[in-house]
Protein backbone atom coordinates (compact mmCIF):
# COMPACT_ATOMS: atom_id res chain seq x y z
CA UNK A 1 0.00 0.00 0.00
CA UNK A 2 1.32 3.46 -0.81
CA UNK A 3 1.31 5.87 2.10
CA UNK A 4 -0.60 9.13 2.20
CA UNK A 5 0.98 12.14 0.54
CA UNK A 6 2.82 14.34 3.00
CA UNK A 7 0.42 17.19 2.21
CA UNK A 8 -2.45 14.96 3.27
CA UNK A 9 -0.61 14.23 6.51
CA UNK A 10 -0.14 17.95 7.07
CA UNK A 11 -3.83 18.59 6.46
CA UNK A 12 -4.80 15.83 8.87
CA UNK A 13 -2.55 17.29 11.55
CA UNK A 14 -3.89 20.80 10.96
CA UNK A 15 -7.51 19.70 11.20
CA UNK A 16 -9.13 20.85 14.42
CA UNK A 17 -11.27 17.71 14.35
CA UNK A 18 -8.18 15.59 14.95
CA UNK A 19 -8.92 13.65 18.17
CA UNK A 20 -5.90 14.67 20.19
CA UNK A 21 -7.37 16.94 22.83
CA UNK A 22 -6.79 20.27 21.09
CA UNK A 23 -10.40 21.44 21.26
CA UNK A 24 -10.05 22.22 24.97
CA UNK A 25 -7.18 24.65 24.34
CA UNK A 26 -7.18 28.26 23.15
CA UNK A 27 -3.49 28.77 22.26
CA UNK A 28 -3.18 31.37 25.06
CA UNK A 29 -6.14 33.43 23.82
CA UNK A 30 -8.49 32.95 26.77
CA UNK A 31 -5.71 33.83 29.24
CA UNK A 32 -4.98 36.96 27.20
CA UNK A 33 -8.61 38.13 27.07
CA UNK A 34 -9.19 37.39 30.75
CA UNK A 35 -5.92 39.18 31.45
CA UNK A 36 -7.32 42.34 29.95
CA UNK A 37 -6.24 42.30 26.31
CA UNK A 38 -8.95 44.05 24.26
CA UNK A 39 -10.70 41.99 21.59
CA UNK A 40 -9.71 44.62 19.04
CA UNK A 41 -6.09 43.66 19.63
CA UNK A 42 -6.59 40.03 18.64
CA UNK A 43 -5.50 40.39 14.98
CA UNK A 44 -2.25 42.10 16.01
CA UNK A 45 -1.79 39.59 18.83
CA UNK A 46 -2.13 36.72 16.34
CA UNK A 47 0.54 38.28 14.12
CA UNK A 48 2.68 38.75 17.20
CA UNK A 49 2.38 35.09 18.17
CA UNK A 50 3.01 33.89 14.64
CA UNK A 51 6.32 35.73 14.62
CA UNK A 52 7.40 34.93 18.19
CA UNK A 53 5.87 32.24 20.44
CA UNK A 54 4.80 30.01 17.53
CA UNK A 55 8.37 30.02 16.23
CA UNK A 56 9.69 28.63 19.52
CA UNK A 57 7.31 25.67 19.05
CA UNK A 58 8.12 25.40 15.35
CA UNK A 59 11.88 25.43 15.93
CA UNK A 60 11.49 22.77 18.62
CA UNK A 61 9.60 20.53 16.20
CA UNK A 62 12.12 21.07 13.40
CA UNK A 63 15.15 20.28 15.58
CA UNK A 64 13.38 17.24 17.08
CA UNK A 65 12.77 15.86 13.59
CA UNK A 66 16.44 16.35 12.68
CA UNK A 67 17.68 14.74 15.89
CA UNK A 68 15.41 11.74 15.41
CA UNK A 69 16.29 11.41 11.73
CA UNK A 70 19.89 10.87 12.82
CA UNK A 71 18.60 8.07 15.06
CA UNK A 72 20.09 10.01 17.94
CA UNK A 73 17.55 9.46 20.72
CA UNK A 74 19.97 10.87 23.26
CA UNK A 75 19.61 14.27 21.63
CA UNK A 76 15.95 14.49 22.63
CA UNK A 77 16.72 15.56 26.19
CA UNK A 78 18.65 18.54 24.83
CA UNK A 79 15.72 19.61 22.66
CA UNK A 80 13.26 19.29 25.55
CA UNK A 81 15.59 21.30 27.78
CA UNK A 82 15.95 24.03 25.17
CA UNK A 83 12.16 24.19 24.73
CA UNK A 84 11.57 24.31 28.48
CA UNK A 85 14.10 27.09 28.96
CA UNK A 86 12.22 29.10 26.32
CA UNK A 87 8.86 28.38 27.98
CA UNK A 88 9.35 29.49 31.56
CA UNK A 89 5.67 29.48 32.68
CA UNK A 90 4.84 26.14 34.34
CA UNK A 91 1.21 26.53 33.23
CA UNK A 92 2.25 26.66 29.58
CA UNK A 93 4.65 23.75 29.94
CA UNK A 94 1.96 21.68 31.65
CA UNK A 95 -0.54 22.49 28.91
CA UNK A 96 2.00 21.68 26.18
CA UNK A 97 2.78 18.34 27.82
CA UNK A 98 -0.90 17.51 28.10
CA UNK A 99 -1.28 18.24 24.38
CA UNK A 100 1.86 16.20 23.77
CA UNK A 101 0.33 13.22 25.51
CA UNK A 102 -2.80 13.47 23.36
CA UNK A 103 -0.68 13.84 20.25
CA UNK A 104 1.53 10.92 21.19
CA UNK A 105 -1.51 8.74 21.78
CA UNK A 106 -2.62 9.51 18.25
CA UNK A 107 0.85 9.17 16.69
CA UNK A 108 1.32 5.81 18.34
CA UNK A 109 -1.96 4.60 16.87
CA UNK A 110 -1.25 5.97 13.37
CA UNK A 111 2.49 5.26 12.94
CA UNK A 112 3.29 2.56 15.52
CA UNK A 113 6.21 1.09 13.62
CA UNK A 114 8.05 4.27 12.73
CA UNK A 115 11.39 4.57 14.58
CA UNK A 116 10.86 8.27 15.33
CA UNK A 117 7.51 7.56 16.99
CA UNK A 118 8.95 4.62 18.90
CA UNK A 119 11.80 6.82 20.09
CA UNK A 120 9.48 9.44 21.61
CA UNK A 121 7.24 6.75 23.12
CA UNK A 122 10.29 5.24 24.83
CA UNK A 123 11.57 8.63 25.91
CA UNK A 124 8.22 9.60 27.43
CA UNK A 125 7.97 6.26 29.23
CA UNK A 126 11.37 6.80 30.79
CA UNK A 127 11.38 10.54 31.43
CA UNK A 128 7.79 11.78 31.49
CA UNK A 129 5.42 13.45 29.04
CA UNK A 130 6.91 15.32 26.10
CA UNK A 131 5.63 18.68 24.89
CA UNK A 132 3.48 18.77 21.80
CA UNK A 133 6.18 20.39 19.66
CA UNK A 134 8.53 17.47 20.28
CA UNK A 135 5.86 14.92 19.42
CA UNK A 136 5.05 16.90 16.27
CA UNK A 137 8.76 16.75 15.38
CA UNK A 138 8.63 12.97 15.72
CA UNK A 139 5.57 12.81 13.46
CA UNK A 140 7.38 15.02 10.94
CA UNK A 141 10.34 12.65 11.00
CA UNK A 142 8.05 9.63 10.69
CA UNK A 143 6.09 11.01 7.75
CA UNK A 144 8.73 13.00 5.92
CA UNK A 145 7.07 16.35 6.53
CA UNK A 146 9.63 18.90 5.30
CA UNK A 147 11.00 21.37 7.89
CA UNK A 148 9.48 24.45 6.22
CA UNK A 149 6.05 22.82 6.23
CA UNK A 150 6.49 21.80 9.86
CA UNK A 151 7.01 25.49 10.65
CA UNK A 152 3.97 26.53 8.62
CA UNK A 153 1.85 23.83 10.21
CA UNK A 154 2.83 24.95 13.71
CA UNK A 155 2.08 28.60 12.97
CA UNK A 156 -1.24 27.81 11.30
CA UNK A 157 -2.36 25.43 14.04
CA UNK A 158 -1.59 27.96 16.74
CA UNK A 159 -3.44 30.78 14.96
CA UNK A 160 -6.41 28.60 14.04
CA UNK A 161 -6.70 27.23 17.59
CA UNK A 162 -6.89 30.78 18.92
CA UNK A 163 -9.33 31.82 16.18
CA UNK A 164 -11.68 28.92 16.93
CA UNK A 165 -11.51 29.69 20.64
CA UNK A 166 -12.29 33.35 19.96
CA UNK A 167 -15.68 32.38 18.51
CA UNK A 168 -16.55 30.67 21.79
CA UNK A 169 -15.41 33.67 23.82
CA UNK A 170 -16.65 36.72 21.92
CA UNK A 171 -19.60 37.52 19.66
CA UNK A 172 -18.15 37.76 16.17
CA UNK A 173 -18.71 37.01 12.51
CA UNK A 174 -16.86 33.67 12.06
CA UNK A 175 -15.41 34.88 8.77
CA UNK A 176 -13.37 37.63 10.44
CA UNK A 177 -10.94 35.37 12.35
CA UNK A 178 -10.39 33.26 9.21
CA UNK A 179 -8.90 36.36 7.59
CA UNK A 180 -6.74 37.02 10.64
CA UNK A 181 -5.39 33.45 10.54
CA UNK A 182 -4.22 33.98 6.97
CA UNK A 183 -2.68 37.32 7.95
CA UNK A 184 -0.80 35.66 10.81
CA UNK A 185 0.50 32.92 8.52
CA UNK A 186 1.61 35.54 6.00
CA UNK A 187 3.45 37.46 8.71
CA UNK A 188 5.35 34.31 9.69
CA UNK A 189 6.34 33.48 6.12
CA UNK A 190 9.56 35.59 6.07
CA UNK A 191 10.71 33.69 9.18
CA UNK A 192 10.05 30.23 7.77
CA UNK A 193 13.46 29.63 6.12
CA UNK A 194 15.37 30.71 9.22
CA UNK A 195 13.36 28.46 11.57
CA UNK A 196 13.29 25.56 9.12
CA UNK A 197 17.10 25.69 9.03
CA UNK A 198 17.53 25.11 12.77
CA UNK A 199 19.69 22.07 13.45
CA UNK A 200 20.80 22.24 17.08
CA UNK A 201 18.72 22.97 20.19
CA UNK A 202 20.67 26.20 20.69
CA UNK A 203 19.33 27.48 17.39
CA UNK A 204 15.66 27.20 18.42
CA UNK A 205 14.28 30.77 18.49
CA UNK A 206 14.04 32.19 22.00
CA UNK A 207 11.21 34.54 21.16
CA UNK A 208 8.67 33.70 23.83
CA UNK A 209 6.47 36.42 25.27
CA UNK A 210 6.69 37.28 28.97
CA UNK A 211 3.19 38.82 28.92
CA UNK A 212 1.71 35.61 27.54
CA UNK A 213 3.57 33.60 30.19
CA UNK A 214 2.19 35.84 32.92
CA UNK A 215 -1.38 35.62 31.63
CA UNK A 216 -1.05 31.85 31.43
CA UNK A 217 -0.01 31.63 35.08
CA UNK A 218 -2.94 33.77 36.20
CA UNK A 219 -5.37 31.79 34.04
CA UNK A 220 -4.28 28.48 35.56
CA UNK A 221 -5.51 29.69 38.94
CA UNK A 222 -8.99 30.71 37.78
CA UNK A 223 -12.02 28.59 38.54
CA UNK A 224 -13.99 30.09 35.65
CA UNK A 225 -12.59 29.20 32.27
CA UNK A 226 -13.65 27.44 29.12
CA UNK A 227 -10.20 26.37 27.98
CA UNK A 228 -7.31 24.56 29.59
CA UNK A 229 -4.80 27.22 28.49
Amino acid sequence: MTSAHVLSVAMLLADARLPSGGHAHSASLEPALLGGMPVAAVPAWLVGRATTASLVEAGTAVVTARVLAMADDSGLAGVVGAWAARTPAPALRDAARLLGRGYLRLARALWPEMPAVRAVVAHAAAHGPLPRAVVLGAVAAATGLPPADTVRLTVYDDAQTAAAALLKLEPLDPVAPARWVLDACAAAEPHVPRVAACITPEEIPASGSPQTEGWAQAHALLSQRLFRA
Binding site: A24, S26, P90
Partner: protein, 288 residues
Protein backbone atom coordinates in the same frame (compact mmCIF):
# COMPACT_ATOMS: atom_id res chain seq x y z
CA UNK B 1 17.94 26.74 32.94
CA UNK B 2 17.28 23.56 34.88
CA UNK B 3 13.58 23.00 34.57
CA UNK B 4 13.10 22.04 38.18
CA UNK B 5 13.89 25.61 39.24
CA UNK B 6 10.71 26.84 37.67
CA UNK B 7 8.55 23.79 38.13
CA UNK B 8 4.85 24.09 38.71
CA UNK B 9 4.50 26.50 41.56
CA UNK B 10 1.31 28.15 40.49
CA UNK B 11 -0.75 25.32 39.18
CA UNK B 12 -4.50 25.39 39.43
CA UNK B 13 -6.30 22.89 41.63
CA UNK B 14 -7.19 21.02 38.48
CA UNK B 15 -3.74 20.83 36.91
CA UNK B 16 -1.70 17.70 36.69
CA UNK B 17 1.06 17.97 39.25
CA UNK B 18 4.78 18.34 38.58
CA UNK B 19 5.29 17.70 34.92
CA UNK B 20 8.99 16.79 34.93
CA UNK B 21 8.66 14.02 37.50
CA UNK B 22 5.33 12.85 36.19
CA UNK B 23 5.51 9.14 35.39
CA UNK B 24 4.48 8.59 31.82
CA UNK B 25 1.76 6.04 32.33
CA UNK B 26 0.26 6.93 28.99
CA UNK B 27 3.47 6.25 27.17
CA UNK B 28 3.64 2.59 28.01
CA UNK B 29 2.31 0.70 25.04
CA UNK B 30 -0.98 -0.88 25.96
CA UNK B 31 -1.39 0.83 29.29
CA UNK B 32 -3.50 3.61 27.91
CA UNK B 33 -5.72 1.57 25.68
CA UNK B 34 -9.23 2.84 26.25
CA UNK B 35 -12.14 0.65 27.23
CA UNK B 36 -12.84 0.11 23.56
CA UNK B 37 -9.56 -1.70 23.01
CA UNK B 38 -10.02 -3.76 26.14
CA UNK B 39 -13.54 -4.74 25.24
CA UNK B 40 -12.82 -5.83 21.71
CA UNK B 41 -9.50 -7.61 21.92
CA UNK B 42 -9.62 -9.05 25.43
CA UNK B 43 -13.35 -9.36 25.90
CA UNK B 44 -13.32 -12.25 28.33
CA UNK B 45 -10.18 -11.35 30.24
CA UNK B 46 -10.59 -10.08 33.81
CA UNK B 47 -9.25 -6.57 34.22
CA UNK B 48 -7.72 -4.72 37.14
CA UNK B 49 -8.22 -1.24 35.74
CA UNK B 50 -10.90 0.90 37.40
CA UNK B 51 -14.37 0.71 35.90
CA UNK B 52 -15.06 3.97 34.05
CA UNK B 53 -18.67 5.00 34.41
CA UNK B 54 -20.15 7.92 32.50
CA UNK B 55 -23.08 10.01 33.71
CA UNK B 56 -24.87 12.09 31.06
CA UNK B 57 -28.19 13.86 30.68
CA UNK B 58 -29.71 17.32 30.24
CA UNK B 59 -28.78 20.29 32.42
CA UNK B 60 -29.99 20.17 36.00
CA UNK B 61 -31.45 16.67 36.06
CA UNK B 62 -29.28 15.81 39.05
CA UNK B 63 -26.12 14.25 37.61
CA UNK B 64 -23.80 15.73 40.24
CA UNK B 65 -26.25 14.83 42.99
CA UNK B 66 -26.46 11.27 41.69
CA UNK B 67 -22.68 11.01 41.75
CA UNK B 68 -22.69 12.31 45.31
CA UNK B 69 -25.30 9.66 46.13
CA UNK B 70 -23.14 6.90 44.62
CA UNK B 71 -20.11 8.16 46.55
CA UNK B 72 -22.12 8.20 49.77
CA UNK B 73 -23.52 4.73 49.15
CA UNK B 74 -20.27 3.11 48.04
CA UNK B 75 -17.48 5.28 49.41
CA UNK B 76 -16.83 2.96 52.32
CA UNK B 77 -16.29 -0.14 50.20
CA UNK B 78 -14.95 1.15 46.87
CA UNK B 79 -11.99 3.36 46.01
CA UNK B 80 -13.52 6.15 43.95
CA UNK B 81 -12.48 9.01 41.72
CA UNK B 82 -14.63 11.59 39.91
CA UNK B 83 -14.05 13.71 36.81
CA UNK B 84 -16.38 16.56 35.93
CA UNK B 85 -16.71 18.29 32.55
CA UNK B 86 -17.82 21.77 33.38
CA UNK B 87 -18.87 24.13 30.69
CA UNK B 88 -18.06 27.52 32.15
CA UNK B 89 -16.87 26.85 35.68
CA UNK B 90 -15.69 24.09 37.92
CA UNK B 91 -19.03 24.32 39.71
CA UNK B 92 -19.75 20.58 39.56
CA UNK B 93 -16.33 19.73 40.94
CA UNK B 94 -16.74 22.28 43.71
CA UNK B 95 -20.26 21.06 44.51
CA UNK B 96 -18.97 17.52 44.84
CA UNK B 97 -15.94 18.56 46.86
CA UNK B 98 -18.15 20.54 49.22
CA UNK B 99 -20.59 17.64 49.54
CA UNK B 100 -17.85 15.98 51.56
CA UNK B 101 -18.47 12.58 50.02
CA UNK B 102 -14.95 12.12 48.71
CA UNK B 103 -11.50 13.56 49.33
CA UNK B 104 -11.39 16.80 47.30
CA UNK B 105 -8.23 15.66 45.47
CA UNK B 106 -10.12 12.72 44.00
CA UNK B 107 -12.48 15.07 42.15
CA UNK B 108 -11.02 16.74 39.07
CA UNK B 109 -12.52 19.17 36.60
CA UNK B 110 -11.63 18.95 32.92
CA UNK B 111 -12.14 21.87 30.53
CA UNK B 112 -14.03 21.08 27.35
CA UNK B 113 -13.59 24.25 25.30
CA UNK B 114 -17.35 24.88 25.51
CA UNK B 115 -18.02 21.56 23.74
CA UNK B 116 -19.02 19.03 26.40
CA UNK B 117 -20.42 16.63 23.81
CA UNK B 118 -17.13 16.63 21.87
CA UNK B 119 -15.24 15.76 25.05
CA UNK B 120 -17.21 12.54 25.55
CA UNK B 121 -17.48 11.40 21.95
CA UNK B 122 -15.54 12.97 19.06
CA UNK B 123 -12.37 13.67 21.02
CA UNK B 124 -12.20 11.99 24.41
CA UNK B 125 -8.46 12.67 24.87
CA UNK B 126 -8.72 15.17 27.73
CA UNK B 127 -11.05 12.95 29.74
CA UNK B 128 -9.05 9.83 29.04
CA UNK B 129 -5.83 11.49 30.20
CA UNK B 130 -7.59 12.77 33.33
CA UNK B 131 -8.92 9.28 34.08
CA UNK B 132 -5.46 7.78 33.64
CA UNK B 133 -3.96 10.44 35.91
CA UNK B 134 -6.56 9.83 38.62
CA UNK B 135 -6.03 6.08 38.40
CA UNK B 136 -2.28 6.59 38.64
CA UNK B 137 -2.33 9.14 41.45
CA UNK B 138 -4.69 7.12 43.64
CA UNK B 139 -3.85 3.60 42.48
CA UNK B 140 -5.61 1.31 42.79
CA UNK B 141 -9.07 2.74 42.11
CA UNK B 142 -12.20 0.64 41.67
CA UNK B 143 -14.44 3.18 40.00
CA UNK B 144 -13.93 6.44 38.12
CA UNK B 145 -17.14 8.36 37.46
CA UNK B 146 -17.15 10.92 34.66
CA UNK B 147 -19.88 13.57 34.65
CA UNK B 148 -20.63 15.05 31.26
CA UNK B 149 -21.38 18.77 31.15
CA UNK B 150 -25.18 19.04 30.98
CA UNK B 151 -26.12 18.68 27.35
CA UNK B 152 -29.05 17.79 25.18
CA UNK B 153 -30.73 14.44 24.67
CA UNK B 154 -28.33 13.30 21.95
CA UNK B 155 -25.08 13.40 23.95
CA UNK B 156 -23.72 9.99 24.95
CA UNK B 157 -20.29 8.68 25.86
CA UNK B 158 -18.07 6.88 23.40
CA UNK B 159 -16.93 3.43 24.55
CA UNK B 160 -13.42 4.75 23.86
CA UNK B 161 -13.87 6.65 27.13
CA UNK B 162 -16.24 4.73 29.42
CA UNK B 163 -17.07 1.11 30.07
CA UNK B 164 -20.66 1.83 31.04
CA UNK B 165 -22.92 4.85 31.21
CA UNK B 166 -25.93 6.18 33.05
CA UNK B 167 -28.33 8.56 31.33
CA UNK B 168 -30.30 10.75 33.72
CA UNK B 169 -33.73 12.37 33.25
CA UNK B 170 -35.84 13.97 35.92
CA UNK B 171 -39.59 14.02 36.44
CA UNK B 172 -39.59 17.80 36.42
CA UNK B 173 -38.53 17.76 32.75
CA UNK B 174 -41.91 16.26 31.94
CA UNK B 175 -43.39 12.76 31.95
CA UNK B 176 -43.19 12.41 28.17
CA UNK B 177 -39.43 12.93 27.79
CA UNK B 178 -38.74 9.22 28.23
CA UNK B 179 -41.02 8.45 25.28
CA UNK B 180 -39.13 10.84 23.00
CA UNK B 181 -36.18 8.46 22.97
CA UNK B 182 -32.68 9.23 21.78
CA UNK B 183 -29.49 7.24 22.12
CA UNK B 184 -29.01 7.85 25.84
CA UNK B 185 -32.60 7.18 26.81
CA UNK B 186 -32.82 4.17 24.51
CA UNK B 187 -29.47 2.52 24.94
CA UNK B 188 -27.45 3.75 27.92
CA UNK B 189 -26.61 0.90 30.28
CA UNK B 190 -28.90 2.45 32.87
CA UNK B 191 -31.60 5.10 32.62
CA UNK B 192 -32.31 6.99 35.81
CA UNK B 193 -35.63 8.80 36.20
CA UNK B 194 -34.57 11.19 38.92
CA UNK B 195 -36.26 13.36 41.57
CA UNK B 196 -39.30 11.12 41.90
CA UNK B 197 -40.08 12.94 45.17
CA UNK B 198 -41.11 15.90 43.00
CA UNK B 199 -43.58 13.92 40.89
CA UNK B 200 -46.75 14.96 42.79
CA UNK B 201 -45.79 18.62 42.37
CA UNK B 202 -45.24 18.46 38.63
CA UNK B 203 -48.15 16.19 37.79
CA UNK B 204 -46.05 13.26 36.60
CA UNK B 205 -47.04 9.62 36.97
CA UNK B 206 -43.71 7.96 37.80
CA UNK B 207 -44.90 4.42 37.09
CA UNK B 208 -46.11 5.54 33.65
CA UNK B 209 -42.82 7.34 32.93
CA UNK B 210 -40.79 4.27 33.92
CA UNK B 211 -43.02 2.03 31.81
CA UNK B 212 -42.55 4.34 28.80
CA UNK B 213 -38.82 4.36 29.37
CA UNK B 214 -38.64 0.58 29.69
CA UNK B 215 -40.56 0.19 26.45
CA UNK B 216 -38.26 2.65 24.65
CA UNK B 217 -35.29 0.71 26.04
CA UNK B 218 -36.42 -2.78 25.19
CA UNK B 219 -36.24 -3.59 28.88
CA UNK B 220 -32.73 -2.35 29.57
CA UNK B 221 -32.34 -1.22 33.20
CA UNK B 222 -34.34 1.75 34.54
CA UNK B 223 -34.16 3.09 38.10
CA UNK B 224 -36.69 5.58 39.47
CA UNK B 225 -34.52 7.53 41.89
CA UNK B 226 -34.85 10.11 44.61
CA UNK B 227 -32.01 10.88 46.91
CA UNK B 228 -34.57 10.93 49.72
CA UNK B 229 -35.84 7.42 48.91
CA UNK B 230 -33.46 4.90 50.44
CA UNK B 231 -34.89 1.93 48.56
CA UNK B 232 -34.18 3.62 45.22
CA UNK B 233 -30.65 4.50 46.33
CA UNK B 234 -30.11 0.84 47.24
CA UNK B 235 -31.28 -0.14 43.76
CA UNK B 236 -28.79 2.26 42.16
CA UNK B 237 -26.06 0.98 44.44
CA UNK B 238 -26.60 -2.65 43.52
CA UNK B 239 -26.72 -1.79 39.80
CA UNK B 240 -23.27 -0.17 40.10
CA UNK B 241 -21.91 -3.17 42.01
CA UNK B 242 -23.34 -5.58 39.42
CA UNK B 243 -21.69 -3.73 36.54
CA UNK B 244 -18.42 -3.56 38.45
CA UNK B 245 -18.61 -7.29 39.12
CA UNK B 246 -19.18 -8.21 35.51
CA UNK B 247 -16.51 -5.71 34.40
CA UNK B 248 -13.97 -7.31 36.71
CA UNK B 249 -14.81 -10.82 35.62
CA UNK B 250 -14.29 -9.76 32.02
CA UNK B 251 -17.91 -10.49 31.10
CA UNK B 252 -18.89 -6.85 30.63
CA UNK B 253 -18.70 -5.47 27.10
CA UNK B 254 -18.88 -1.69 26.66
CA UNK B 255 -21.92 -0.71 24.59
CA UNK B 256 -22.10 2.33 22.38
CA UNK B 257 -25.55 3.93 22.52
CA UNK B 258 -24.50 5.67 19.31
CA UNK B 259 -24.17 9.35 18.54
CA UNK B 260 -27.57 9.56 16.87
CA UNK B 261 -31.14 8.85 17.77
CA UNK B 262 -32.81 6.13 15.71
CA UNK B 263 -34.39 7.96 12.81
CA UNK B 264 -36.86 7.55 10.02
CA UNK B 265 -36.13 6.99 6.33
CA UNK B 266 -38.96 7.49 3.87
CA UNK B 267 -39.16 5.03 0.99
CA UNK B 268 -41.85 3.62 -1.29
CA UNK B 269 -42.99 1.11 1.30
CA UNK B 270 -43.63 3.82 3.85
CA UNK B 271 -40.18 3.96 5.34
CA UNK B 272 -38.37 2.40 8.23
CA UNK B 273 -36.73 3.42 11.46
CA UNK B 274 -33.10 2.59 11.80
CA UNK B 275 -30.62 2.97 14.56
CA UNK B 276 -26.85 3.03 14.34
CA UNK B 277 -26.29 0.08 16.65
CA UNK B 278 -25.35 -2.51 14.10
CA UNK B 279 -21.78 -2.54 12.87
CA UNK B 280 -21.80 -1.29 9.32
CA UNK B 281 -24.94 0.76 9.88
CA UNK B 282 -23.15 3.68 8.28
CA UNK B 283 -22.15 1.84 5.16
CA UNK B 284 -25.24 2.94 3.31
CA UNK B 285 -25.10 6.25 1.51
CA UNK B 286 -27.39 8.88 2.81
CA UNK B 287 -27.19 12.32 4.23
CA UNK B 288 -28.33 12.61 7.81
Amino acid sequence: MPESLVSASATAPTTVPGAPSEPATDARPGSSAGPLATSSADAARPTSRALRLGVAGPVGVGKSSLIATICRALGAELRLGVITNDIYTDEDARFLRSAGVLEPERIRAVETGACPHTAIRDDVTANLLAAEDLERDFAPLDLVIIESGGDNLTATFSPALVDAQIFVLDVAGGGDVARKGGPGIGRADLLVVNKTDLAPYVGVDVARMVADASAARENRAVVALSRTDDASVAELRSWVLDVLGSFRSGAHVAQDPGPMAPHFHADEDGGYVHSHDEPGAHDHDHAH
